[in-house]
Symmetry: C2
Subunit: 356 residues, 2 copies
Amino acid sequence: MSRFLSREAARLAPYVPGEQPGGGFIKLNTNENPFPPSPAVLAAVTEKAGGLNLYNDPSCAALRAALAAEYGLAPAQVLPANGSDEALAFALRAFCGAGRPLAFADVTYGFYEVWANFFGFEAQRIPLAADFTLRPKDYFGLGCTIVLANPNAPTGLALPPEEIGRIAAANPDNVVIVDEAYADFAPQSCLGLLGRHPNLLIVRTFSKSRSLAGGRLGFALGSEELIACLARVRDSFHPYNVNTLTQAAGIAALADREYFARCLADVCATRRWAAGALAALGFEGTDSAANFVFVRHPALPGREIAAALRARGILVRRWDAPRIADWLRISVGSRPQMQTLLAALADILHTSPKEA
Amino acid sequence: MSRFLSREAARLAPYVPGEQPGGGFIKLNTNENPFPPSPAVLAAVTEKAGGLNLYNDPSCAALRAALAAEYGLAPAQVLPANGSDEALAFALRAFCGAGRPLAFADVTYGFYEVWANFFGFEAQRIPLAADFTLRPKDYFGLGCTIVLANPNAPTGLALPPEEIGRIAAANPDNVVIVDEAYADFAPQSCLGLLGRHPNLLIVRTFSKSRSLAGGRLGFALGSEELIACLARVRDSFHPYNVNTLTQAAGIAALADREYFARCLADVCATRRWAAGALAALGFEGTDSAANFVFVRHPALPGREIAAALRARGILVRRWDAPRIADWLRISVGSRPQMQTLLAALADILHTSPKEA
């Protein structure tokens, strides 16, 4: 380790993102949308590129207005960021610190723990049940800031909004952050709770459901009080964090409702079909409400399946982590991509898919 | 202040960026380039927009290769970021902390102090001389991480590279960060020092000289050791920080050398001309090597001049800060913008410009 590194930087434990290889792979490892962004995004980006010599609007006024209208909120209840990762990082800096630890599930998005190290506050891991379900009562009266991915990653399991509402009500002096990165693929969201719980913050992303992973756009929704806290953090780190093209892409993606609905319906239908086909191959899986499935096979360790898929040009995600080392998180790609996946799995398992 | 805010977030002192009004102003307040980005940028962005459903390359391999080739370095000596502000923030987290304060000039880029608050390390302000020049000896053997804007902002004054080299040599156990946001407009840069000083880090931006302020692209250059430290910080905060379109825009802007040279020559010629015309109006100014001038007038306080310009639709930058409260930082805009500025100033000063 470099002698120049500060102690604070030396103790960091960087996140390891899913592979982003140059090409030639069927990428089912980072939950990307198989559909390109709306054509309106292309038009918006092309229109704005000539003005890039001027700074982007640091207040993101037009984008905030569009998001506020979409979700029935005031613009001051919205804060866009350079991906939902940045929105989450701002929220954790705003609401966690010495004497204010962060609580989250033992199986969830791995970055929460990385940010705890980054900002130097304590993390409290709360075990999920054996079937990966979350017991709301475990979170009542914790005295911590809480972050819940809902649907959870990598399990895909979603808690009904009323359960999240009970957690928020049982922690009135602490902020409850709901990471809804995958909520557009789920039957319900916590948006309806915002009016009732001033301590509830929802973080969302354009990466998955709106096909803008490479555009980097996330946002937080909450009470004006909480959003002002996030803005305070952003303005102490990088006020110009969302560039001009990304702001324009976000507005255009939001406006094309029909395209959004069509892509969403396709991904959800493919998820149902793929989950059934995987079950037919002997996989067991969670009841995922996200744009991925989370499965394991009784006959082969996850590591072996992932390696065999990789050898066949297909990437899926797995972790060397307690409880989930045998599980695979497989993004819902296009129908042809999933057919290729199923054929490869059938080959690996020396059987044939029931219907592909 | 919100009761939900952590102590760490409560003590932040957010940066106040220059105004970014919707339109109708001649904006000479945030050092934007008056020329649009290269047409190659427009083409690159349009080409890449259709693939935004896929994540950007977190390693920025192609952009790093292009920057490395441009500056005669290895790709592992380059780290792009979401604006040079983010690159600077990563560097300060990497190299500052408890027992490792940050030293910088009392008159310099205001964000250094904001980041000291953000990360919770100490800041040591070192006064410039009365004429705003920096005395290298003040920085010898400090035992601090050092950040020097060169040319400095908002004074525009540049230290010769050999003086920076002496500072780096006199602090072999600490990192010296040179913020070269404006170096393309200056006669010299510290790039040639990189091979000699493993503790030297240079941070640059596409915002000013390459007309990409709204695209958000900055980068750090240094030894592989220092760059690895920055990557460690980035990967603990947001590994996907530079989006696909910005990476493509950067590569295209770098490739169009002729356009770059032409814009640069125009801005520098306009700076010389405007500085002379301002002197003819009675302004005194620094010998700026940046894309702005830094001036004051003996007859009128800076605050009054700025307000009078604003009333005439022209924005310039000033600060309510010790030593510089009477000074104005005026970006070098297009020739017609500067003519409008000079006519307005002549009007404000009840005289007429010698040559406009």
